[in-house]
Symmetry: C2
Subunit: 895 residues, 2 copies
């Protein structure tokens, strides 16, 4: 028979047992095994949870028997009997996933109490009041967690009772009053659960275990896993442990502590406790806990033991530990230890300190910091405490991370106007959607909020490029530019009112929230330098402007992996020429307009080459469909027609002619340059002339021209011909070292990579578009089903955040294999947004890529993840960490 | 050194030599080798042509020497000298591709003539007049073909001369007048070509060969290859052959003949000739040629020899031959033989007759008919002769094949009105674009013409489903419904004027053109029965209605491979309920609307099952994005709001909410059913209840439910659960045999087929969408670049017509391999439009598919192609026929 239940003393903690038992169960086993005082207990495996869901809520066969057997063993060790009225064994029933998900799933304490056993507990403890206090807590918790009776009903009942007896605090209630409360609670259960409270301890236990299983798929747990990129199919373990009581009087206590300060990382024992309380009281915040050091005054022996154990645990686990303990009649019991959650700042400091303390190696230190966490160090952040108290008035897409606080303004023109008056003006530009005309205003504003558009909308793309906080596509708001206000629900936010944006979370807060600046500590620099020594992957930046390029170098970029030349087209003075080119009726007209653009582009490239002196700069030829450069609305078109001195009807005809049903799959990428070679000619001329001039000024430019959206080798062949011709014409050959390569964004390019590679000096995966085409997911349109798929477990991760290994990843693998089969020296990189996401970076390392490229602000993340990939590879642990694949499963309805 | 020039007697015809030399050169070699009287000559290979283009118009090294050597050899055999004034050798220079492209490329006759050699020719032939006549023809032809001087200039000059000397016909001109003409022609050349006419024979030869090479990329040749799906990268051979003269007097002649009647296929020697003429005269139509049988009267010995040889050639080649010959002073020379072009009707008859004559086997007969050609037998056709004389007023997309002649009407309502008055009304519905409201009018009209929309627009899809002729997306027309007219250029076509549509070519003609009905001869039935015995692939139909299903069975369908249930949604009485479902604010509202649809769908399925009694019927669950069921324009929305009694603003909000940037990659396919499971539930209930009722009535329904757009195994798993639940609820289990499978339309599905297959009873390739996603080509938007890519040779074929073997094909291969690796019994089919295209059908055979499915009208094509695939496989010749891959090349500009 399959084993589902494991006593603490039978197991040790390992990646396998963490996944099998959940982290809590595995660590309780580990602490037991190294001789620490842990109350006896056992853990039901995550296997059982998965089988429970697969069987639509039935316990797997054998589980019941194994649980009974383990309880019998507990009874023996504790010298108590489960359900006994004389000497009852009470247990806690707790959840625990492979990664700690604090507070997301359910817990039941004091299980085993009923009208008889409560008497036994009173006898055992000699404390009748405590027994009934535990009983009323148990009913409340069990009814809420297991039976779905609303929390508030019990809170109202106790409040009512306190009021009627004039009690200030719960501790003022007498034993008799608590007995009354138990009866009232039971009546509430019968009324609202449709069944009476189960008095049988075994029934309680089975119901509680099932409820903990089910809590794996409660809404907040699903949400938490989504946010933290955790597997929906892992399931929870259930730990059943004999109760110890911190509420046995003044020689009893319960508390939570950290081996170091989890906010700052400082090496100091940190935590808090409550005398005469159960764990939930600490969390609930009814009484104010005391700093952990005070415990020495109350129960000195237990405190000294705790100090010893916490130090021992940190040394044992080689990491900052988050510890739960209870003291029962002066005796210390360890209830949990786990790696402590910590701020990014603390993570970095702890890692570096521990190396200095010779506790861990540099490699271990690199694994102690979550790469994704570094994001917080690199952007301004809204103060987390202030956020808790502030009002979220709208949510949108987290389009560009960071924080921004400012007064709302509804037009770019107005932003510029106000900025002119006051250079320190803090403004938030709020628009239905942005367009190229808004660029200047976007630049001057502190943050951007739009009502429409996805993560690749104009606002989102431009904001990320500027490193500016942006919340995009907020369906919660309605912008009324004319009335100088926006509506968020029933609220009207008028011009110049203050709001605060959290671009990392996609949240809009009312008012001015405090903001913390990004900080690069000395420790951060040290950690990064360690990462750089370890990693094999190079890290480049996606950067379109000299400002971005400088930032990128500061963050450690080893080149530019993607310069989107079209972003230069949107800037003032250029967009007009771009539009003239589009509207031109023939090649001659296009050439005339392109000639106006040439000096701009050349200037851009010169500045880029100088910033990136001696480092490669990948320049992508024009990629987006031309209609993106024209406005959409009738009014804008009328204005433009006047500005360009072109009949409105003609302009409308052009816009209509450019309309596409699926622009993502339309006339863009290399298809543009093949149908209008003069565009490529101008861009290449700008690149080569810029390079020559930089060379002459003593710089060392290394341009790499990149052809986008290639699907057929011939497309690259033909485009390459044009590039090489311009190279000859500009006389760059022999003077500047340049490369010609292609983006890999189409499944066809992957499966025909052996045909394409002979004509390419490098490949660069555009995994945004490759994900769109491989999965048939339009990134702008997935909002209607991807969130639902994540919730239903159809998808385990958002494929636009984390590379879809099984699908897109396979095609990437095929591509590299085929490409290098004909050209072993082929340089391969990635420049999709996955290039800055830690898990995807690790995958790129596994695939054998040469570099990843990402936005400047994500470079440190990529550097660390690339180093972690090397270390994990050496440890033969896959990039996701400790997890082995399991059969998928899906939630079942509540019974 | 590489060999580029091959004497006739050195080679035989084979697939390899046909590709190397072109068909003409290979067949001249073959005729020479079997002892037929062929003037001496040699052929320059297509290799040389490809290298010529690769080297931007330079002759490959060695070619010049080889040509000189071959000419020397000709001189020896002919006893004449090239460029000699005494005894000149004259040659013809002709093009010839691997597939005959009659009239598409250039030819030069009489090459080697100049002011001196013309004297030699006069002496040789004793015919001074003929010599100068040949000379003036040569200058004219050479200047036109090689030097780019306009044809008309020479025609004007000769007309002027004839007028001035009062000559009626060219033959009335005297030797002296022809000499004058030669001088005039040379002056024209000097004036218009910017250089004088080359008198050196070697210079003439080199210029002519280069010109023939270049003619490979002239506009009409490119167009021809596009239409006929020929390779742009093959290049042309150049055949150089000593001249023989049919214009030596009344014992000389030239002619063209066929071994059987190419129109009807009747076994009769067929052709025509001119006495005392050169080949071009027959083609030019200046004199009226005589039936071939008349030749016996003029030159009996030559005629008898010709009859003997034509019979011999047909037996030798085992196919109807198209023969060119010349008689010089009574001696017959063969100038060309090739498989004769023939009508579809003739092709079928010839094939069957030849088997009856024991000339060929049934397998050979099956290869004699081009599968694609059968299309002409299955639809009405505009009379080809009448088309030549009629005015094309507009062109559009060939959205649905066939022909339609009728009076134009601009609204569906009006069509219905007119039809009510006269059941025989012949009407053409002309709309900017069609919408579901137009269905009834479309049904009653003979044909449909739209100004907007692609090959997958509403009009196109619906028309193909109805088997109704449709020209869609004609940019040439502007519909003014209000004014009851449409504009085509400057023409105004008013309501009730007559037009004729050619849906196969996408052409609109003014007036009433005669139409020929489709004909199924006895021979056709015989040929099909042979095909059915040979083929391994099953052939099913894409059919959505009982009418289509019946047609499909008539055409030999072995089941329905794709029933697009949403097409049923568009019909009257249903679309309203569909819209109610979409507009419904919650599940309850959707369920109410779906309940209205259930009886309709059930009725549809019952009728389908009855028609296809005992054969499988694949029913695809709802696939298109919901916005396709709602109108777009404000006016239509206002009307709909009133009709549905829903506020306009609400309806507009729904439409806006459904808007997608790239609907092709959006909320559609199984994503709909996973987010709104009630839609799947209704459809499955309809299928199962219909099947049960059919079963009870004594029929044998075999439903196969198909889940569209699956990319993740989990999508199929979850959808399958719903289908199986409904199966249980309807009690169909055990009573009706049903299957559940999935369409394969996404690259991700292909590379994860081993994960999907365990949950699928069958796979069906949706190659339309798979092509869109693999190539990143939106079918509706490729008009802007695919035609240009075809012309530039970047693409060799339109991937939406012929499966892209190297890209999409590889993914299909991977998919089948992975799918069958875990489920060897997996049934695999194809239901994209490629399933009815001959070359793609052959590819499906090679891949090991179980069946193809196509529109009813293409079933015979698929049946024949499937048989041909088996025969070619046995012959170890690939599906494309005779062609091996070659390096790609691209056109160079004229020098």
């Amino acid at each position: 028979m399959k084993r589902f239940a494991f006593a603490f003393e039978e197991m040790r903690a390992s990646p396998e047992t963490v996944f099998l038992l959940g982290n809590k169960g595995a660590q309780l086993a580990e602490m037991t095994s190294i001789g620490l005082p842990v109350p006896f207990g056992f853990t039901i495996s995550t296997d059982a949870c998965r089988e429970f869901f697969a069987a639509k809520g039935q316990w797997p066969s054998g589980l019941k028997e194994q649980v009974r057997e383990k309880i019998a063993s507990l009874e023996k060790k504790a010298g108590k009997q489960f359900g006994s009225r004389e000497n009852p064994l009470l247990v806690s029933v707790r959840s625990g996933s492979y990664v700690s998900m604090p507070g997301m799933m359910d817990t039941v304490l004091n299980l085993g109490l009923n009208d008889e056993t409560v008497r036994g507990l009173a006898t055992q403890t000699g404390n009748e009041r405590m027994a009934f206090d535990s009983y009323r807590r148990f009913i409340h918790m069990f009814a809420d967690v297991v039976m779905g009776v609303k929390h508030e009903l019990f809170e109202e009942a106790i409040a009512e009772l306190k009021h009627s007896v004039n009690a200030k605090s719960d501790t003022d209630l007498s034993t008799g009053q608590l007995q009354q409360l138990v009866d009232r609670y039971k009546a509430i259960v019968t009324e609202f659960a449709g069944q009476s409270f189960p008095s049988d301890a075994w029934a309680q236990l089975e119901m509680a275990v099932s409820a903990v299983f089910r809590s794996w798929y409660n809404e907040r747990a699903i949400k938490y896993r989504e946010i933290n990129n955790l597997r929906h199919d892992a399931g929870t373990g259930v730990t059943v442990q004999s109760m110890v009581f911190g509420n046995m009087g003044n020689d009893s206590a319960t508390g939570v502590c950290f081996t170091r300060n989890p906010s700052t990382g400082a090496k100091e024992f940190f935590g808090e406790f409550l005398i005469n309380a159960q764990g939930e009281d600490v969390v609930a915040g009814i009484r104010t806990p005391q700093p952990i050091q005070e415990l020495e005054k109350f129960i000195p022996s237990a405190y000294l033991e705790l100090v010893r154990i916490q130090a021992l645990l940190e040394t044992h686990y080689k990491d900052l530990q988050d510890i739960e303990f209870t003291v029962e009649h002066g005796k210390l019991f360890m209830l949990q230890t786990r790696a402590g959650k910590r701020t990014a700042q603390a993570a970095v400091r702890v890692a570096v300190d521990m190396v200095n303390e010779r506790l861990i190696s540099r490699e271990e230190a690199l694994l102690l910091v979550k790469a994704e966490q570094l994001d917080k160090l690199l952007h301004k952040q809204l103060d987390p405490e202030a956020k808790k108290k502030a009002l979220v008035i709208a949510r949108g897409l987290p389009a560009s991370p960071g924080a921004a606080v400012g007064q709302v303004v509804f037009s770019a023109r107005k932003v510029a106007e106000l900025f002119k008056k006051d250079k320190n003006a803090q403004l938030i530009l709020v628009r239905t959607e942005t367009s190229p005309e808004d660029i200047e205003g976007m630049h001057l504003a502190k943050g951007i909020l739009t009502a429409r558009g996805g993560l690749t909308s104009h606002a989102a793309v431009v904001a990320r490029g500027m490193g500016k906080c942006c919340v995009a596509g907020s369906n919660d708001i309605m912008v009324e530019e004319k009335n100088k206000k926006f509506k968020a629900g029933d609220l009207n936010i008028m011009e110049l009112e203050w709001v605060s944006l959290d671009g990392s979370a996609g949240e809009v807060y009312l008012g001015q929230l405090p903001v913390s600046d990004p900080t690069f500590s000395k420790d951060f620099e040290i950690l990064m330098s360690w990462a750089d020594k370890v990693r094999r992957l190079k890290v480049r930046a996606n950067a379109d402007t000299p400002v971005d390029a400088r930032k990128a170098r500061e963050f450690g970029a080893q080149g530019i992996g993607l310069c989107r030349t079209e972003h230069m087209f949107f800037e003032k003075g250029r967009i007009k020429a771009v539009r003239e080119m589009i509207v031109a009726p023939d090649k001659e007209g296009r050439l005339k307009a392109l000639a106006k653009l040439l000096p701009f582009q050349k200037g851009d490239f010169k500045a880029l080459f100088k910033e990136m002196n001696g480092l490669p700069v990948v320049i992508r030829l024009l990629d987006p469909p031309l209609h993106e450069f024209l406005p959409k609305s009738k009014k804008q078109l009328l204005d433009l027609a006047e500005e360009m001195d072109v009949p409105y009807k003609k302009l409308r005809r052009v816009v209509k002619g450019l309309h596409e049903c699926n622009p993502m799959l339309g006339h863009r990428g290399c298809r543009l340059g093949l149908t209008y070679p003069e565009i490529n000619e101008m861009q290449c001329r700008a690149v080569f002339e810029a390079a020559l001039e930089c060379e002459a000024e003593g710089f060392r430019p290394l341009p790499e021209i990149e052809v986008p959206l290639v699907g057929f080798a011939n497309e690259l062949v033909e485009t390459r011909k044009v590039i090489e011709r311009i190279a000859r014409e500009t006389g760059v050959e022999g003077k500047v070292h340049y490369k010609i390569g292609t983006m890999i964004e189409l499944p066809r390019a992957c499966v025909t990579a052996d045909e394409i590679a002979p004509h390419a000096d490098f490949f660069s995966f555009g995994t945004n578009d490759l994900t769109q085409t491989t999965l048939g997911f339009s990134r702008d349109d997935v909002g209607k089903f991807v969130p639902i798929f994540l919730q239903q477990g159809i998808l385990s991760k958002d494929p636009f955040q984390v590379i879809d290994r099984e699908g897109v990843g396979k095609l990437m693998h095929t591509c590299i294999e085929k490409g290098r089969s004909v050209k072993p020296s082929l340089e391969v990189g990635i420049c999709g947004e996955h290039g800055g996401e830690a898990e995807s970076v690790m995958f790129c390392h596994e695939l054998g890529l040469d570099y990843v490229s990402c936005s400047p602000f994500r470079i440190p993340i990529a550097r660390l993840a690339a180093a972690q990939a090397v270390i994990l590879e050496a440890k033969a642990i896959d990039g996701i960490g400790v997890v082995k694949p399991v059969a998928s499963l899906s939630p079942v309805a509540e019974p």
